[in-house]
Amino acid sequence: MPDYNTMELMICTAARELEDGATVGVGTGAPCAAAMLAQKLQSPNLLILFEAGGVAPLIPEMPISVGDSRTTYKAIMASGMCEVMETACRGMLDYTFLGGAQIDMYGNLNSTRIGADHQKPKVRFPGSGGANDFASFCWRMMVMTPQDSKRFVEKVSYCTSPGWLTGGDSRAKSGLPLGAGPYKIITNMAVMDFEPESKRMRLIALNPGYSEKDVQDNCGFELLKAKKIVENEPPKAEELHILRDVIDPYRYVIGR
């Protein structure tokens, strides 16, 4: 058995995507943990931004809310929502991490509802929050989520936040800022990107212990496969130490 859990694996994988000097818009939970981990390892100058107004904090412990005091701890600026989202719309935010109840083959996300009746949904979720905004504006949108065919559906039943919409050049034609869109999808089993022409989700890397079949069996649509599928490195001792002992000692996120 590996000496790390699914959440730790996804956070470590995600953290490696965030290079020094980049900007990232995050929410609470796993995305924040990934940004904090990157900041404490290879990317000390990673600028973390929160939609509520926190700009470039040195986060001392896991925030509970994207607007709580921890999101401005030793920050550069305590601003507001327009400041952060306008910065993103201006093209200054490189990455964001989003999630949802459903994700489809073009990386569109549903965090609003299940059920057809909008005024009386079967299940009501929070809605967009800042997700539609970050997904529209940030250059590269990433998702961390368990690999599960109920979650990975061919078409989201409700598109809260834009991925590549219906693929091809549909996003470019929509009016959303050019060149921004879903980048990587990180799961417990694999990492996917999007094939440049069709914009369909494509398997590019496997986590230790999983096969292409495992991933496909837990995905509700046909995944494209990269010519060369690499094996992801498991979490390193140093990554796990910082994640467990410094970032999340009370296991708010990694204990889930």
């Binding site: 929410g27 609470t28 939970g29 939609e51 509520a52 107004g53 926190g54 001392p60 412990e61 896991m62 925030p63 509970i64 809310s65 994207v66 607007g67 709580d68 005091s69 999101t71 401005t72 305590a78 601003s79 507001g80 929502m81 327009c82 989202m85 719309c89 569109n108 609003t112 009746d117 909008h118 005024q119 009386k120 949904p121 079967k122 299940v123 009501r124 979720f125 929070p126 809605g127 967009s128 929050g129 800042g130 997700a131 539609n132 905004d133 529209s136 504006f137 598109c159 809260t160 936040s161 834009p162 919409l165 549909s170 996003r171 929509s174 009016g175 959303l176 800022p177 009370y250 708010y252």
Partner: protein, 330 residues
């Protein structure tokens, strides 16, 4: 300007800038004492059917005393801005105080999970919902604060968020780029909790301002609750700290620990045990009713609510937690 595409969501408030100007023309510019109790403020400025915007961010710098008073006074059929609403939303759902909602972020309490009762209320069919995003709601207030009827943004397009919103896609007259036009939001009333205010309503806020700068300007009436009343001399000593000027404000209520059980930047952290208790008790209707009676309906004011939940000893602990004193973390 032609509309290329438009959502089917209802716009619950009138975005007309001239109508807003006509109202603001009548708004008092007098520097007069506006200090009153929360009870008086809600009696005067929150009416059945009004559209309400709350300040802060869910459970951070939120005017809890105003929400509790809205429930005690039995306000109904409010319109609600659901921009980053979490525990505030949970309270207003407990009182079934609103029947239409602009959804930015609702139902959830961020990392704490979803409120079972808020979900139940939003799945009941009793509430009309238009979809937006947090930034879209921020932009709608920005338009209101600027005295215009809409503001262009580059989100929404291609999604169901546009479809269920009241937004309209238009073309830029200069570049031909597509934008979603978001209608100005002029709330009937905004309630905002701040660190310091003087008796006229000049306000100081520390930490993030979220959308409160614009909310205070776009709203027709503004209720301020503050941690501390300060002198106008202090405001005038350094005007660079003033975030909200007095002419926006109708009522000033001094409510120490007014964001409790939420977080207040630089003052006290959120009471996570109490927030957890709220969410847990919501799964049992009988217990929830008793919980609301104890914590809201039988309380005279915010002090009594705090007294019932640990009083000054608890507040001291939350202050230590905010300052991250050794041992105050769990």
């Amino acid at each position: 300007m032609d509309t290329i595409e438009q959502g089917i969501g209802e716009v619950f408030t009138d975005p007309d800038a001239d109508k807003a100007r006509a109202f603001f023309r009548t708004k008092s510019r007098k520097m007069e004492n506006k200090v009153m109790s929360v009870k008086e403020a809600v009696e005067k400025f929150v009416h059945d059917g009004d559209y309400l915007k709350g300040g802060g961010f869910g459970a951070n710098r939120v005017p809890i005393a105003v929400y509790h008073e809205i429930l005690r006074q039995g306000r109904k059929n409010l319109g609600l801005s659901g921009q980053t609403t979490t525990h505030d939303f949970e309270i207003l759902c407990a009182g079934e105080a609103f029947n239409r909602c602009d959804a930015g972020y609702i139902v959830g309490l961020e990392a704490r999970g979803l409120s079972p009762n808020a979900r139940r209320y939003m799945e009941s069919g009793k509430v009309k919902v238009s979809e937006w995003s947090n930034y879209a709601m921020a932009v709608r207030l920005k338009a209101g604060a600027a005295g215009v009827s809409f503001y262009p943004a580059r989100n929404f397009m291609g999604t169901d968020t546009l479809k269920y919103s009241g937004g309209k896609v238009i073309e830029c007259p200069f570049t031909k780029t597509k934008y979603v036009a978001l209608p100005a939001l002029y709330p009937d009333v905004a309630a905002i909790h701040v660190h310091e205010a003087d008796m006229y309503g000049n306000c100081r806020v520390r930490g993030i301002t979220v959308s409160d700068f614009d909310a205070a300007r776009a709203a027709k009436h503004v209720i301020i609750t503050c941690e501390r009343l300060i002198s106008t001399d202090e405001i005038r000593r350094d005007p660079s700290f003033t975030v909200i000027p007095f002419w926006c404000v109708d009522a000033v209520c001094e409510v120490p620990y007014g964001s409790y059980p939420g977080n207040m930047y630089g003052e006290y952290f959120s009471d996570e045990d109490h927030l957890r208790e709220w969410m847990k008790v919501e799964t049992d209707p009988e217990a929830f009713k008793a919980f609301l009676d104890k914590n809201i309906y039988s309380c005279k004011n915010h002090f009594e609510y705090i007294q019932k939940n640990g009083g000054m000893e608890k507040m001291q602990l939350l202050r230590q937690k905010e300052m991250m004193f050794v041992g105050a973390r769990k």
